[in-house]
Subunit: 234 residues, 2 copies
Amino acid sequence: MKLTPKHSSCQDCSKEQAHIFQHLTEDELFLLDQQKHCNLYKKGDTIYHEGNRIGGCYCINKGVIKIYKTGLEGKNQIIGFAKSGDIIGYRSVLSNEAACTTTKVIEDSAVCFIPSDLLFQFVQNNSEFALNLLKITCRELEYANAYITDIAQKSVRERLAEMLLKLQDEFGESNDGYLQISLTRQEFANIIGTATETVIRLFSEFKNDNLIELNMKKIKLLDVNKLRRIANDM
Amino acid sequence: MKLTPKHSSCQDCSKEQAHIFQHLTEDELFLLDQQKHCNLYKKGDTIYHEGNRIGGCYCINKGVIKIYKTGLEGKNQIIGFAKSGDIIGYRSVLSNEAACTTTKVIEDSAVCFIPSDLLFQFVQNNSEFALNLLKITCRELEYANAYITDIAQKSVRERLAEMLLKLQDEFGESNDGYLQISLTRQEFANIIGTATETVIRLFSEFKNDNLIELNMKKIKLLDVNKLRRIANDM
DNA sequence: CGAAAGCTTGAGCGACCTCAAAGTGGGTGG
DNA sequence: CCACCCACTTTGAGGTCGCTCAAGCTTTCG
């Protein structure tokens, strides 16, 4: 498939449901369109590195990006993903700090760069936009706090089941029922905070118990209820 | 010591350095003063429970509050603390959701209740206030993400050392060098996500290695540098 | 087609949890 | 003001989850 942006103009893009820029005025959208800069990235490309000064934020037009922090001995902790309609890097912009995460492309992506000044301008002049951004940040924060509780209290087995359900929720499944996102075993491990081998062993168990089906890197959830019970979801 | 608010009016209170309400206009402060309601709480009191609908947020005038989530089998995970000048519960207000944490008083406190409508009004009419709140949320989010990485990658020993340093940083030390916050062993355990007994054993080790001094519930850090090395701070 | 990256399985061990039991201190009610 | 009670603290023993290291296999990609 050829790599092209889904929309050519921000006016079109922002019409997608619940889009971050849905509350901008026509004039603001026009400004955005003038000043943004769209780039195509291939799988494996890094958009920005932890520690980078980034002069703006990025709006994902198409594709999937993983967001992670690098800890001790180079071990990565995946904090989350961004996909079509999400924006990344806005925290560093607003705090005027260097990026505290690295963002790397998992599926070929089209990503628009939005200069810092413009983001600040929108926040200051458009209170609906500001409130919306605030709500998004609050949601991320709530998610992060819930995950702290999870990782501190649940076993690796519980977290793995939970993560599979979350991924299904966030990325959906294709026609043939496989998860719409493809990750390496190491990436799975870096989400739930465990060793690659542990993920592999647990996947084998889940497979033997007919909870999931494994086909190379494709995964199908066979028994969502039982997985939910294992995940101990509240 | 008698339990009284530190300031009687929001006009005075907001003048404290870097206060959340520092960017409000005189008119807004007047409104706030009229509509807020100040309450005194004693150690052990709960301000709101996880799952409660709270019709506003709370601004801490004096005292210390712990913020925690209750996980499986009633085990609590402490997410953070709030002290003089902090506001809590604003996320639930902005998202119009039930509270996702419980907040309980650790040191006798004076806390002002601020109705939801008023908070929304400030966010919508005062872009500086909105931006400030956004920055605060961003900071909390960054802190949460860093902690996810920590808890996923570091050992309990590392996290305990790190937490002691953080508490020293956040609450300071009294004249005689003891940490200005007093927690039970169980609360320490609930911060770093471990068992109470493990905290006790590690404290003994730290004490034997002359890293800390223990005097009942009071703790003094004796060798910050070595603690920092143990914490593997980056 | 070869190299590099990713996957899988096994063995061994150690950090941390759980359970149990005894000691300690502070707060409260008589 | 004192005694009792309850919550907190401490220490020990034993078990296990999940990590590390190692080695061989498979897939992908240039």
